[in-house]
Symmetry: C2
Subunit: 598 residues, 2 copies
Amino acid sequence: MPTYQAPIEDTLFVLNDLLGFDRHNNLPGFADASPDVVEAILGEAGRIASEVLQPLNRVGDREGCHRAADGSVTTPPGFKDAYRTFREGGWGSLPFDPAYGGQGLPHTLSTAVSEFMSSANMAFAMYPGLTAGAIAAISAHGSDAQKQAYLPNMIEGSWTGTMNLTEPHCGTDLGLLRTKAVPQPDGSYAISGQKIFISAGEHDLSDNIVHLVLARIEGAPEGVKGISLFIVPKFILDADGKPGARNGVSCGALEEKMGIHGNSTCVMNYDAATGYLIGEANKGLRAMFTMMNEARLGVGVQGLAISEVAYQNAVTYARERIQGRSLAGAKAPDKKADPIIVHPDIRRMLMTIRAINEAGRALILWTALKGDLSHRAEAESERQAADDWMGLMTPVIKGVLTDKGFDNAVMAQQVYGGHGYIGEWGMEQFVRDARIAQIYEGANGIQALDLVGRKLGLNGGRAVQAFFAEVGQFCEENRGDEKLAPLTKGLKIGLNDLQQATMWLMQNAMAKPDNAGAASTDYMHLFGLVALGYMWGRMAKIAQDKIAAGANGQAEFLEKKLVTARFYMDRIMPESAAHLARISTGADSMMAMEADAF
Amino acid sequence: MPTYQAPIEDTLFVLNDLLGFDRHNNLPGFADASPDVVEAILGEAGRIASEVLQPLNRVGDREGCHRAADGSVTTPPGFKDAYRTFREGGWGSLPFDPAYGGQGLPHTLSTAVSEFMSSANMAFAMYPGLTAGAIAAISAHGSDAQKQAYLPNMIEGSWTGTMNLTEPHCGTDLGLLRTKAVPQPDGSYAISGQKIFISAGEHDLSDNIVHLVLARIEGAPEGVKGISLFIVPKFILDADGKPGARNGVSCGALEEKMGIHGNSTCVMNYDAATGYLIGEANKGLRAMFTMMNEARLGVGVQGLAISEVAYQNAVTYARERIQGRSLAGAKAPDKKADPIIVHPDIRRMLMTIRAINEAGRALILWTALKGDLSHRAEAESERQAADDWMGLMTPVIKGVLTDKGFDNAVMAQQVYGGHGYIGEWGMEQFVRDARIAQIYEGANGIQALDLVGRKLGLNGGRAVQAFFAEVGQFCEENRGDEKLAPLTKGLKIGLNDLQQATMWLMQNAMAKPDNAGAASTDYMHLFGLVALGYMWGRMAKIAQDKIAAGANGQAEFLEKKLVTARFYMDRIMPESAAHLARISTGADSMMAMEADAF
């Protein structure tokens, strides 16, 4: 059975040393997040993750959710109690507005916490995760009355939330959606239609479920310009604001999935359900994207989270399993064989996962901090720069860290040999769970198109130019540092490849848009390589500086950072040239065959 | 629900045009495999695959196998009838010795057939697949009496076979195995111990199960030099050679696996079971490797097979699912959206899978032909050269085509978006089934070590030098061909990278063996890139020559070969430089951390 220990030392290194969290304590919420408080919160979150959520991960997978004939859904054994513990601990309220009962702490901190929870039990963590997205959308677009009505209970956790976008014929292309909203005399709408793949759509964890539903008001324009967003509560609120009459929304079926069995993925049927318009009519997509961006970063966190727990268990197995002898001579001569961690190919897998995880954690928290700054920084210029980074990096984090997260789970499974294929060892569940993160909240191909087709050119390329300048400057500043030179050299090569690829796109994608589509996935991964490499450069510099200053009791931890940074440049960064080469060949051979010829 | 059509035209292209199958009709077995016969066999095999086996693929996954309290195991509904059809069609006997009831046809042909069967139902095809391995071992190492006793019924299919290597504490490192063999007065042995992960270990498809079991004769040397191979039939043969008394071997449990649920993967308990030594005492490993090499090629076939069926279904979905518009302008303006096959990123996935599959099929059948020639060619030099190729390419095919097969199944699943994650669409089963092929019959890291540590240096590097010369000569011969030049140029770059990597290994791995281990997986994949690229070069040349000669009604098929070859060089071959770069960094950063520091 797998185990999990939250990577608290590493998270604190990122928050304190890399991000200089306490430098921002002039900003709202940050003042409350002093180093002591942060450490205490992370420690307690880690404890809940290890002791409460992780033990339910396998039972959640095996037992799954069950739908009764009346459409009610029960979660796996233990989930209800665990959710109560989670809720009572206030874990769902960390980053939200104190005016509605939130703790007002930085999103950066709640992002770190959500990594731990997702490592321990991804299917479980999705319930509060979706609620958080719904809270964000209502906070940003709801009326004061809507906020008063829904936010306090959602933030407290006694009500949960969902996102309802997908329909059987319509996923990526929301312009095709058919769910109808008919205006009612009282100002509400009657919502009718079918939604599929609705995570946490129906379950027994909360007293009410607040569905956010995309639908088309009768007579609205076709396509994406005629879509509105509605609040559709499972129980309509009564005069006291308490869950009252059952609304006309129900779970028609549970999807039978590859993984995340502990989360209820529902077909939701809306049969003239009472809905309340949120934000402006026909502007629903914009409101929904508030949720989507939160959610996409959250999905990137899931990629990291599964990769981390898979890594930890693979390390344990590699230390305990004895098989064969080191090529460099027996390492455990007293035993019949050496532990398999002596074998370079096992190391290759472990170090690859480790190098992605630590840089991934840094990139996620770095970006989450930008998210906080985009709302809370004092200077408009700082808010804008932070928002630029956030927008640019969201598809990169979602696409790259979930692709890598899955690859890493597969690698960690491979360390187990045949045992990795057997359910009781738990590794195959990580692979099945990690797989969804590449698909939902916009399949990774869509993330790549978002990056290449939208984010690159936004505001005349302001965000990407700022990123290139920042990474280039870091390389330049540290070029003379003998010890860092191998790292900055590798990073600079990657950056040059990325800049060349960007130039190629500018020169070749305008006249022939298929060249952009053909390049998109490689470009996204190339971008990710450089962004992660930049994190390694920064972390290595800090580690080196701290060692020079006496290491403060962290010598071993800091030396490992330097080794892992070097491994990243040796073994992972070289992929950049292959991406550039592929991008530069354009779309010709990719698009030459007729559709019927496949 | 997925469907499957055997790729008969492509298989015939490989057999007839690439391999010139009928040029070998002077050799035993090949005379019977005239073009007409081959086409008829492939056609009928494709029909059985599509109509009999494929419809049972999902039920096999869902229902799985069941073990009763008495240790008996039932296969999924329909498997028994399907196996009867398979057996009565003589599909298990194609390549075996007519002296024992086989059809004596080339292994090349049965390899093509096994691809079809594995595409349709991998879990099912494993039952006869393991039997074929056991037949090979008994044929090569059994006494005449043993052959007489076991082969006819195994070849006919009324008895099946297994391989018993793995024990709970011992997988890759067979030197650790503990199963004991105690000599009995009658010349037999009493076998006691536990084996795990035994595919097809117990089931209801056959009248007897012939287990080939590795065990240690009492008093034998420690390690791999004290291992012997035994035949342990489920039912001991009576005086008439018929299944008689139940032997002391039983299924203690079924493993709960990630996939291939239709195949019974057993914990086998041997309790003083009667076993018969096969081959020499303490030489069991050599005998087992006869099976392993067959099996490894067969596992490579599974990688291709799943990739092919996943591809076919992804193409169908990409043609039927409408979502979004082509970046180059609407392609289906009469519909609300275009089919997703218009999107370059969908094409990227489909073309990648296609390019690997067609070259993979060519490489497998090319290598299977070498296997036939290594036994049947007239000249000793030809037999040796064929055996060299076979030995060199076995780990490459096993390791690379199963890694790519899994990646491709994941990509094909990705084409489906959210539907790919749902059981009823069948794509997630392909991913789960494909995963085992990277693990069993020697995890792919072991294949890489076999290539780098054993096969490269064998006979002074004779095999690898011959391969380099052959590929180099092909590039040289076609350098002047204007149309082929882009292909041969790409291939030549890959070959140069591979030769440089080989040189690096020669210079750096002797003094420091960890450098070989650290390079091994990248080296294997680099080797695979070049081998597959060589197949594309050859196939493109043939296609071009045939088009120049009038195409003989195959113009569209041949043009597609040229497009796909170009795609391979544009998009897949560029990976070679990254492999070389990684290999050249050596083991330092990979091995720097202490085992306890992870």
